[in-house]
């Protein structure tokens, strides 16, 4: 146990890094999920096909492979794209934090697409018709009528997606992000106590996922509170 002392602050900073990546990935995943869901639900054939391809590819490819692809590949692709606009640019780099956040965002976004799609379909169509009758624009309907009702239906699965994001962040250590798994590896290199170090990593993750689970449960209660009072 004494071996851990001296590494506490490294684990602390690693945990902060995990939370930062989690936040970034979550935002990206929600954006991609909403984009994908609206594409799948739209009447535009091209959008539907694109969204289908998106969900199939990112739900069927291992997270590690997507991550490695993004870490090494995007720099190349983005550089070529950037050079079209400004030939002066020598290179464009995507640091591991963003390579990881985008990769996880895309992967869990694909799962969220399905969740949001199901939840949107669960909102009674009469609501949309009523909004239309009242003169709300499509945008207003989306934000004020459909989204709030969709969230309640999406919450249980959304909670699971949040847990997935949290656990996927561990993979970014493989491309050099200094989060807690990487700290665990560095600590092992110096202390030669892998069981202790990786158990610590596991317990930190467990603590965070517990918090997320409690948060989701609380959010579910809040979102459904308007239904509970009817007894």
């Amino acid at each position: 146990m004494a071996a851990l002392s001296g590494w506490w602050d490294d684990f602390f900073f690693g945990t902060v890094m995990v939370l930062k990546v989690f936040a970034a990935s979550l935002v990206l995943a929600v954006i991609f999920g909403l984009l994908g869901a609206s594409a799948k639900l739209s009447r535009n054939r091209a959008a539907q096909v694109l969204a289908k391809a998106y969900t199939v590819v990112f739900r069927g490819t291992p997270e590690l492979v997507v991550l490695l692809l993004f870490y090494f590949g995007t720099a190349v692709v983005l550089t070529r794209i950037a050079q079209i606009y400004d030939p002066q640019i020598k290179f464009v780099d995507v640091p591991p934090f963003w390579a990881g956040a985008i990769a996880i965002g895309l992967i869990v976004g694909a799962y969220m697409t399905e969740t949001f799609r199901g939840a949107f379909m669960g909102v009674a169509h009469g609501q949309v018709e009523a909004a239309h009758a009242l003169g709300l624009t499509k945008g207003q309907t989306f934000f004020y009528v459909r989204m709030p009702q969709m969230w309640r239906l999406a919450l249980p699965n959304f909670g699971n997606h949040m847990l997935s994001i949290m656990k996927d962040t561990a993979l970014i250590s493989i491309v050099g992000l200094e989060e807690i798994v990487f700290v665990g590896q560095m600590a092992t290199a110096v202390t030669h106590k892998p069981f202790l170090m990786f158990m610590t990593v596991a317990l930190i993750y467990l603590a965070i996922t517990t918090v997320i689970t409690i948060l989701t449960w609380w959010l579910e209660r809040y979102a459904n509170s308007h239904l509970e009072r009817v007894r």
Binding site: K193, M197, A202
Partner: protein, 233 residues
């Protein structure tokens, strides 16, 4: 940097060499994971606190921590403990393949037991009561009535978990196993063409996922035969 289509095609057969290990990993982990899952499920729904609580703790830990960390604990961490190295399990844990099977089985068993529990909870109470009225004992009810219905209900979620486990096998490459991802990473380190090689690896995984999806679809159709309208004569 040029994008080399030919490299994708030419590396596919090489990367497919890792397919054998990936499939073996999946086969062992699925089988053992299923057995463990049923065990944990029975413990979880037994109603006796000394069985339910350990099962819930097991599920809580394995679902709350990343698979990568679980693999590292089993592969790197366990040998640190002397008693592990002298135990009966050492021949299994000594090999990276064994460690990955243990990690993947444990992890998927936690998820599958919850999925099966969802299936069991979804069985109509009336069916269970009717069976009781007909005089079937609790074990008989569970095996002949509840299980077939629960399996059908759980199948969609199970197929998702199966695909997740397929994706998790890629992590075996972090502990020296030469599965699809392991072979791909080795080729990348020799050819310095990460983009093309990882796309080729992704294509192989996608092909596998597609095959499994079709298989599960057929299974769902077969099990759901009697629920389709107009199916019965």
């Amino acid at each position: 940097m040029n994008f080399d289509f030919n490299l994708i095609l030419s590396s596919l057969p090489q990367i497919a060499a890792g397919l054998g290990i990936t499939l073996k990993l999946m086969a062992y982990s699925t089988a053992i994971g299923l057995v463990l899952a049923v065990l944990i499920l029975l413990m979880r729904i037994s109603g006796r606190w000394y069985l339910t609580w350990p099962a819930m703790g097991y599920i809580y830990f394995l679902r709350g921590t990343p698979i990568l960390v679980q693999i590292f604990i089993i592969y790197h961490g366990l040998p640190q403990l002397d008693f592990v190295r002298e135990s009966v399990l050492w021949p299994v844990l000594r090999e990276p393949f064994g460690c990955c099977v243990v990690a993947l089985s444990l992890n998927s068993s936690a998820y599958i037991s919850e999925i099966l529990r969802g299936g069991v909870l979804g069985v109509d109470k009336g069916v269970n009561e009717a069976a009781r009225a007909l005089g079937l004992s609790a074990p008989q009810r569970f095996i002949y009535i509840v299980t077939p219905i629960a399996v059908r209900l759980a199948l969609p979620a199970y197929s998702n978990e199966f695909i997740s486990m397929m994706k998790a096998t890629a992590l075996a490459s972090t502990v020296t196993l030469l599965d699809i991802t392991g072979v791909a990473r080795t080729i990348v380190s020799n050819t310095f063409a990460p983009f093309e090689i990882f796309i080729a690896a992704a294509l192989i995984y996608l092909a596998m996922a597609w095959v499994f999806q079709v298989g599960f679809g057929k299974l769902e159709d077969y099990l759901g035969k009697y629920t389709k309208r107009g199916a019965s004569a």
